[in-house]
Symmetry: C2
DNA sequence: TCGACAGTACGAGATTATCGAACTATGTTG
DNA sequence: CAACATAGTTCGATAATCTCGTACTGTCGA
């Protein structure tokens, strides 16, 4: 289960995180990922009608911002919200956002 | 003191707000605007070394997202944070963000 | 080994952002 | 009032980013 490159907790900054969340598709993906941790990315994208190649890009932006870990699991990608790192680096940030978008 | 066009409280949505905050320059402008309400935009931009024409664009994005009101006051623009509308529409959203970026 | 499946890589076209130069509108000064 | 300074906008060109179709890679099951 290889882990795709991602920023360390201490090198995460706020603007990329907010930028990653500032897109309706990604915000919905984050909402779903938080509700169903360790899902396959195809499951999280279900019914969104967004092309796969676009989705790859969205996951990259979320991963590079530090919001999620992407685990290569066979031919699937498993999406793991970085609960701990985010709560540690940006305490109190995500809860209100997730509450407002669900 | 003419008011530049802005979204009504009930038509504001989360993604544009997060997108507006997801840029380091705009995040700093918001931080300053919240700390010094009704300042001139030139005062808020002081020391940031961003061209005026770029700044115009940043204020437009913040205004169109619903974060700030822009009041035309003579040859100045006065920036008024939309405390009430934001607190009403997105309760609990801004406080943690502002705390984290100051 | 063969095909189906999940997702990536690449590249073209579209969208958005940056910023210099010219312009507008308002205030100030002689 | 004329002339000028101030504060910011508009326009247009360039750059950066996003979208997504096509072709490709790696993995699994039969």
């Amino acid at each position: 289960m290889r882990l795709l490159p991602e920023p360390a907790r201490e090198s995460m900054t706020l603007p990329p995180v907010l930028h990653a969340l500032g897109d309706p598709v990604r915000l919905e993906l984050v909402r779903r990922a938080w509700a169903s941790p360790d899902s396959h990315c195809s499951a999280l994208a279900e019914g969104m009608n967004v092309p796969l190649s676009t989705m790859t890009n969205h996951w990259r932006i979320l991963r590079e911002a530090g919001l999620v870990s992407v685990l290569v699991d066979g031919r699937h990608r498993r999406i793991r919200p970085r609960y701990g790192d985010l709560g540690d680096r940006f305490p109190g940030l995500l809860d209100p956002i997730l509450r407002l978008c669900s």
